[in-house]
């Protein structure tokens, strides 16, 4: 029996196909254009190697900010519930999930089955999210992938305020103008984001172990800065961006088996 989960994020869309509960295909693509069309294309592409079509799926759960626009989804579930479910599947010892996505970041507390106990989400502002890193990478003419490793090379990070993305960007530009070292600026940016996310997490009673998911988890500089502040090692799943889609697929499986969704 085949089921699928789709996570339509603000920057990336992800799909996962399960066959009898096991992952048989996964795909990540940039979100761009009309979501209805993208979700169709993405799902068809993920199914093609299996020789399957959307109609062969017993059940589909959609999540992410574009979840309401996936025409073939049987159910929409927020990314908060899906990340909880996805993480608990691989790491039942995790009690807190930090998710750093393109447009927002979240702290989620879960029980051993991945059921959400409490959560916080950042404000509308992009500071503390993937978008912020992207803006800064652009301003510094550094590729997004290089940002994390660069940050680790600095011995004396610059101080960067992070009340607002626009202010931070102009601050970064003036630092560049003053001829400051790029690595120090990059490191400062990571500290600022980590500070912001840590501030948000303090609204929760954080319990260990802590996992980090979403695109931000792939940034080693950010992971290290957060670990410093949290005083513990973070669990980084192999495919941190796929956790939401995986959670959605697991919920789809439960639906298909006739059990109530989490």
């Amino acid at each position: 029996m085949y089921v699928a989960g789709m996570d339509i994020g603000s920057i990336f869309s992800k799909a996962i196909i399960l066959k009898d509960g096991q992952v048989v295909a996964s795909l990540i693509k940039r979100t761009g254009g009309e979501i209805k069309a993208i979700s169709h294309r993405l799902m068809e592409e993920a199914l093609a190697p299996q020789g399957l079509q959307i109609d062969d799926l017993k059940s589909v759960v959609a999540t992410g900010y574009g979840r309401i626009s996936v025409p073939f989804a049987d159910k929409q579930v927020t990314e908060i519930s899906c990340f909880g479910r996805g993480v608990a599947n691989s790491f039942p010892e995790v009690r807190t999930v930090i998710d750093i996505g393109g447009q927002d970041s979240k702290g989620i507390k879960i029980d051993e089955r991945g059921k959400v106990q409490d959560f916080v989400m950042n404000d509308k502002c992009a500071a503390g999210t993937g978008r912020f890193l992207e803006v800064m990478a652009n301003a510094l003419e550094v590729s997004l992938e290089d940002m994390g490793p660069l940050a680790l090379q600095s011995g004396s990070p610059e101080e960067i305020g992070i009340t607002c993305t626009v202010f931070a960007e102009s601050q970064v530009i003036s630092l560049v103008g003053e001829g400051r070292r790029k690595v120090d600026i990059v490191a400062g940016i990571h500290q600022a984001i980590a500070e912001r996310i840590h501030g948000m997490l303090r609204m929760l009673r954080i319990e260990e172990r802590i996992a980090i998911t979403g695109g931000g988890a792939k940034n080693i500089g950010l992971v290290k800065e957060l670990e410093k502040r949290l005083g513990t090692e973070l669990i980084v799943p192999e495919e941190p961006q796929l956790i939401g889609a995986h959670g959605a697929a697991l919920l789809a499986l439960e639906m298909a088996l006739g059990r109530k969704g989490s």
């Binding site: 900010y65 929409q76 990314e79 927002d104 959400v116 409490d118």
Partner: protein, 386 residues
């Protein structure tokens, strides 16, 4: 069907809130507005004027930003905007309650930059536990009474004030009855409908509102009897905060699978509780109503601490969780929040904080938070069709 028609009347009022006020004005009656909340409308009514609430609007804020910084709550920025745009030209006067620093500053500003001929303050006591509070408040109400008499040229006798008090008590009682039916059978009206009826009371003639509301209650009671026993799967929720703005927030809550069965909102329970004692000296009784109001960020209750109040509210409403609905930059609520959240957490009551603004709603993230919260506490979202 009858319910729909009656509800339409209330929806028409909140969509065009000042048509009745303007009609009154044309007929030569004085119109006195009030800012949220707690202004004793009974005094305005007894002075022969028409009281009407000024609660901001969903229009963009442009002109007000010349005078108020963007970190002032949008309720007051939007209300000032309405005046500066000329939307409140029908007002003969306005009473501004000094609830927080913002309203205190706004009162001076209103006198300076607005055209409203008569601007009066309602100076609420802050130390409500002191015995002097009652005496002070009775004096303050007497001062406003005299001030209103001067502006309308009509003396307010104890008899006319008693008559007004009875009319407004009746309105509160009817509203509470409607709310009670709703909490027993939350499927009869939507959350937005319930709160729209309450909001409409702030714009309408009370006698007219009472009449329609009585019909609505009759229709609801009838339907309740018919549909008794129908299970309701919605997650019962309490809302705590200032105002339920933007109004779409109520739709989002229902779409996410929730229903509002209790609140401490200025445009909710705070407006319809408690009654004024009809047996007493009217000014003292009005003062007592004020002192016994349910607590909120800007005003304590003399013998009901807010933390305890909220816990009781959740329990008595049989709610599964509480949503703090805070206006961005509402400082009384912001200062109160951590204490309140702690109290709820300690009692094991799931809670969520949403920040909204009166104008310019941006609701995408709010939808996600709401849905996640209701998924967390267990509830069935309404099926969405594309």
């Amino acid at each position: 069907m009858v319910i729909k028609e009656l509800m339409n009347r209330f929806f028409t009022v909140v969509a065009d809130p000042y048509s009745e006020a303007k009609r009154r004005k044309e007929q030569g009656q004085k119109v006195i507005g009030w800012l949220p909340t707690d202004v004793p409308e009974e005094l305005i009514h007894a002075a022969g004027a028409f009281p009407v609430g000024i609660l901001g609007s969903s229009n963009n804020i442009r002109l007000a930003d010349t005078h108020l910084q963007v970190w002032v709550c949008s309720l007051m920025r939007s209300s000032l905007e309405m005046e500066l745009c000329g939307d409140l030209d029908f007002l003969d006067g306005i009473i501004i309650p000094q609830t927080c620093d913002t309203t205190r500053a706004l009162s001076g500003l209103w006198r300076k930059v607005c055209r409203t001929p008569y601007v009066e303050d309602f100076l609420l006591p802050k130390q409500v536990k002191r015995p002097s509070a009652r005496e002070y408040l009775t004096g303050e109400l007497a001062r406003i009474k005299t001030s209103l008499e001067q502006v309308t040229g009509k003396k307010i006798s104890d008899e006319t004030l008693d008559t007004s008090i009875r009319l407004f008590n009746e309105n509160r009682q009817l509203l509470r009855r409607m709310f009670e039916i709703h909490t027993h059978q939350p499927g009869l009206l939507t959350s937005r409908e319930v709160y729209t009826v309450i909001k409409a009371a702030m714009y309408m003639d009370k006698a007219e509102h009472n009449g329609i509301l009585r019909d609505l209650i009759r229709a609801l009671e009838h339907k309740a009897a018919e549909s008794a026993g129908t299970p309701d799967s919605k997650a019962r929720l309490v809302i705590s905060g200032g105002v339920w703005e933007p109004p779409e927030i109520m739709d989002l809550i229902e779409e996410a699978g929730g229903v509002v069965v209790g609140d401490d909102l200025l445009t909710g329970m705070r407006y319809l509780t408690p009654d004024v004692d009809e047996e007493r000296n009217p000014l003292e009784a009005l003062a007592d109503r004020q002192l016994n109001k349910i607590p909120f960020g800007g005003f304590d209750n003399q013998n009901y601490e807010r933390r305890r109040f909220l816990l009781d509210l959740v329990r008595n409403s049989e709610a599964r969780g509480l949503i703090f609905l805070h206006l961005k930059f509402c400082e009384p609520e912001n200062y109160d929040y951590n204490d309140m959240r702690e109290a709820l957490n300690s009692a094991g009551i799931p809670n969520l904080r949403l920040e909204t603004e009166v104008a310019n709603p941006s609701l995408g993230q709010i939808r996600t938070r709401l849905e996640a919260f209701i998924e967390m506490i267990g509830g069935n979202p309404i099926e969405r069709t594309l």
